[in-house]
């Protein structure tokens, strides 16, 4: 999985990384020993949430920033607690 190689290279170069991944890829986060992974219970292609769901998108960003601040070692995998929800664009 491309992000694993990219993340390792950036982290090794001295920049902390955190990755937002849908649950379908959770096993890859563990196999690739990604430094910090936030697992979201969203369908593939919608890691931040549904189109137009700005609230959820902000919640995911907040969670990944919290993960960046709290992780103390490689391979920290945290699950975002909320389930996916669709959101009409005009809502």
């Amino acid at each position: 999985m491309s992000v694993g190689h990219v993340g390792r290279a950036i982290e090794e170069s001295g920049i902390p990384t955190a990755t937002v991944m849908v649950r379908a890829f959770e096993h890859r986060a563990r196999e690739l020993k990604m430094p910090r992974a936030l697992i979201v219970k969203h369908p593939m292609g919608r890691p931040l949430g549904a189109a137009g769901d700005t609230t959820r998108q902000h919640e995911v960003l907040r969670a990944v920033f919290e993960l960046l601040e709290s992780a103390t070692g490689n391979g920290t995998v945290v699950e975002f607690p909320e389930s996916y929800r669709p959101r009409p664009l005009n809502a």
Binding site: V3, I15, P43, P47, L68, P86
Partner: protein
């Protein structure tokens, strides 16, 4: 029956959703499941649709599809570790709070700025349909990293990636490239600064050629003087 064999097998049907005659990137995982698993999933989905006729609530359908997708991508419990799995990994501790940090972003979503097409295979104006049809070529090709100024208007973003259903990202780029959301976080002081440039490439690419590109990419990323990097794969 259209173009399909009159006595098409169920196996042929489920595999046709993975870059076949019925390609559907949301359900290409059918290819890796058994006939019985896909049949059970479809039966359950239709049953839930029967409920939705009355309730109007499609969430149970979405949840069933989500669960099947997560299961479809999970390895068998006794599967050997895949190539590119690691026992150890790097870890760089944070030096300062996120609110005092400069934040970068790199996604494998295949975004680029209108007028700055990375031109895979040297070809201009490749469509999403082209990218899907040529997925095997992409998987052998050198990855092209697009630079996206972090003040790019969302309406100027384009997306192309033969590996996932981009419809959601077309409706709202923030689902795979949360540029507006990061700008909003920065505007209210949640982060000190955003990188002047974000990055994206289609993750469906040659892994070996990607690794060869990485030293140059990392050097370019360091020019952004970021404190942390947000990564979004699709």
């Amino acid at each position: 029956m259209g173009d399909h064999e009159q006595n098409e097998s169920f196996e042929a049907f489920r595999k046709s959703l993975s870059y076949g005659s019925r390609n559907d990137l949301n359900f290409k995982f059918f290819k890796g499941m058994s006939d019985e698993q896909v049949a059970s999933f479809l039966q359950d989905l239709l049953h839930k649709l029967g409920d939705a006729y009355d309730t109007g609530d499609v969430l149970p359908l979405i949840e069933a599809a989500y669960e099947a997708q997560a299961e479809g991508y999970s390895p068998e419990p006794d599967a050997p570790p895949p190539r590119n799995s690691f026992e150890e990994g790097p870890f760089t501790p944070l030096e300062k709070a996120i609110a005092n940090s400069t934040v970068g972003m790199l996604t494998t979503s295949g975004h680029f700025v209108a007028g700055d097409d990375p031109m895979p295979f040297g070809e201009a104006s490749l469509t999403q349909e082209d990218a899907v049809n040529r997925i095997n070529e992409f998987l052998r090709e050198i990855p092209l990293l697009s630079e996206i100024p972090s003040d790019t208007p969302t309406s100027d973003l384009r997306v192309r990636h033969g590996g996932y259903d981009i419809r959601s990202a077309v409706r709202d780029p923030n689902v795979t490239f949360p540029i507006d959301r990061l700008r909003e976080v920065q505007a209210r002081g949640g982060v000190r600064r955003l990188a002047s440039t974000f990055f994206s490439f289609p993750g469906a690419t040659s892994q070996g050629r990607l690794r060869s590109e990485l030293p140059g990419w990392v050097e370019r990323i360091h020019e952004e003087e970021i404190d942390v990097m947000l990564l979004v794969p699709v």
